[in-house]
């Protein structure tokens, strides 16, 4: 574990959480201005990029030697998630049109973001493995696909729970719903493929190839279904959402970010250990570019 990179990630993440969550809480409930004079746009940019760069730093620092860091991340994630859920369930006012059902958005929207982030990580791991042939990335590919599949499944469940009282149906053939479902099945297919291939080299290469092909499909599915049918809520931006709604959404976003990172780190350790215990020993990958 590269301690310096990990600490840098923690610092960056703390900065992002400070600007995204604490500043808004202080402003809204304690009437304090602790934004250090930064405009809203700058704060949002720091929050988004700080979170994503911190994720990259955590993964880059990880060499599978230590179990403390992922556990710390998961604990911090649970804490942020609890804070966000407390604000979302008890503090934030109900929404004007949808009432109490809207509160599921505080987990639904961050789940959607990080399902996509996890799948993107899987695609990046696949490309890095094909170019470099390092089995560390194969473990990471398996971990991020699995975490992404869980998040996408949760996303479909939350969406159905919300859709029944709001739209009157459990499911609708909307672009985002349909894309999530297709994504879910495509990546479950990759996981199934991994189970059926015994040779570790073939398994790594084939699942990388299948991941890249499935990932490229995501935008095409999205646009094709969009032409076909559309009903989903339009995306909101900070300017269309009032401030009390920001706090639970953002706290939960960082909570899920940390949980996802911690789970990916733990799961890739499991994958790496499994690879190590497989016989015969790992063949060396020839790099052809």
């Amino acid at each position: 574990m590269n301690k310096r990179l990990f600490s840098a990630g923690v610092a960056l993440l703390a900065l992002a959480v400070y600007f995204a969550v604490l500043v808004t809480i202080a402003d809204e409930y304690w009437n304090l201005n602790i934004s250090l004079g930064l405009p809203v746009v700058a704060r949002t940019l720091i929050a988004v990029f700080g979170g994503l760069i911190a994720l990259v730093l955590f993964l880059a620092a990880d060499d599978y030697s230590d179990y403390r860091q992922p556990n710390v991340l998961i604990a911090a994630g649970i804490m942020l998630f609890l804070i966000g859920s407390y604000f979302g369930l008890f503090v934030a006012p109900p929404e004007q049109f949808m009432g109490e059902t809207q509160r599921i958005m505080y987990v639904h929207v961050p789940t959607a973001w990080f399902a996509l982030v996890a799948m993107t990580l899987a695609a990046i791991s696949a490309i890095v493995f094909l170019l470099g042939g390092n089995y560390k990335w194969d473990a990471r590919l398996e971990a991020s696909i699995e975490v992404g599949v869980v998040l996408a499944f949760l996303l479909c469940c939350q969406g159905s729970i919300w859709a029944k009282p709001t739209w009157g149906v459990w499911w609708d053939w909307d672009p985002r719903l349909t894309t999530t479902a297709v994504l879910l099945f495509a990546f479950i297919g990759v996981l199934a493929l991994r189970r059926f291939v015994e040779d570790p080299l073939k398994r790594a290469i084939w699942s990388s190839v299948a991941t890249i092909i499935a990932y490229v499909d995501v935008p095409i599915v999205y646009f094709s279904v969009k032409w076909w049918n559309s009903l989903h809520q339009q995306q909101s931006s900070p300017s269309t959402v009032s401030k009390p709604f920001w706090i639970p959404l953002r706290a939960n976003a960082f909570g899920i970010l940390l949980l996802m990172t911690g789970f990916i780190m733990l799961r890739s350790r499991i994958a790496a250990l499994r690879l190590k215990n497989e016989r015969p020993p790992l063949p060396v990958v020839e790099v052809t570019t």
Binding site: V182, A186, A192, L193, F196, V209, I213, W227
Partner: protein
């Protein structure tokens, strides 16, 4: 490239009984779909394009799964890879052969659809064009996945599991375009679906060709 293609055609011609069997399977599937709807002529005509493409999709898993059968016997694929050509040539030869085979099946299912569902059309040329584009979309990723799954156990399960979610856009566009041809196209939407199909084909024919080399690498 031409030699690779010639080899595929020769193989296909020698196993033409298989093509006929798949054709009969597709026709039987079309017959069964009508039982799902019941003897409602208007509904059958409305859904005919979807049934045609589902029939072709189900038949395609059979032809694609079989397409690497010959290469797996006596480790012939390794022999092919030892030839002084790039594996891409093997891939494109295989993919074009699969494409033509799927297009033949698709075109032969059209008369079955016309008879069973009363879904006739005078725009034969556009229908042929759509079937060619749609089967190209099935064949490019299908051939790549068949190359993987042919080498492992339970290939019959895994190939559709990998392929079906992937070809959703191609299926959607083909069904929409076909049904616009059959039922009439007052808003002329057919064009945008055909553009989507062409884009899908272009992306997967290039991407899969690029990745195939890594898949068969020993």
């Amino acid at each position: 490239m031409l030699i690779a293609l010639r080899k595929e055609f020769l193989l296909q011609w020698r196993s033409r009984a298989q093509l006929v069997a798949v054709l009969v399977f597709g026709a039987a599937a079309l017959l069964l779909f009508s039982f799902a709807i019941g003897p409602n002529a208007a509904a059958l005509r409305q859904f005919s394009a979807g049934f045609l493409w589902l029939g072709l999709l189900l038949s395609s898993t059979l032809t694609l799964a079989e397409s690497f059968h010959a290469e797996m016997e006596n480790r012939a694929l390794e022999g092919l890879l030892l030839l002084p050509t790039s594996p891409r040539v093997i891939y494109y030869g295989k993919a074009i052969a699969n494409w033509i085979q799927l297009a033949i099946i698709g075109l032969s299912l059209v008369p079955v659809m016309v008879v069973l569902y009363d879904a006739g059309t005078t725009r034969i040329l556009s229908l042929v064009f759509i079937i060619l584009l749609g089967s190209a979309g099935l064949s490019a990723p299908g051939t790549l996945y068949a190359a993987m799954t042919a080498q492992i156990r339970s290939k019959q399960t895994l190939l559709p599991l990998l392929l079906f979610p992937l070809i959703v856009p191609a299926l959607l566009a083909s069904v929409k375009a076909t049904s616009l041809v059959i039922l009439g196209d007052p808003m002329s939407e057919g064009r945008s679906w055909i553009i989507l199909l062409v884009a899908f084909d272009a992306i997967y024919w290039s991407l899969c060709g690029l990745l195939f080399g890594r898949v068969v690498d020993e």
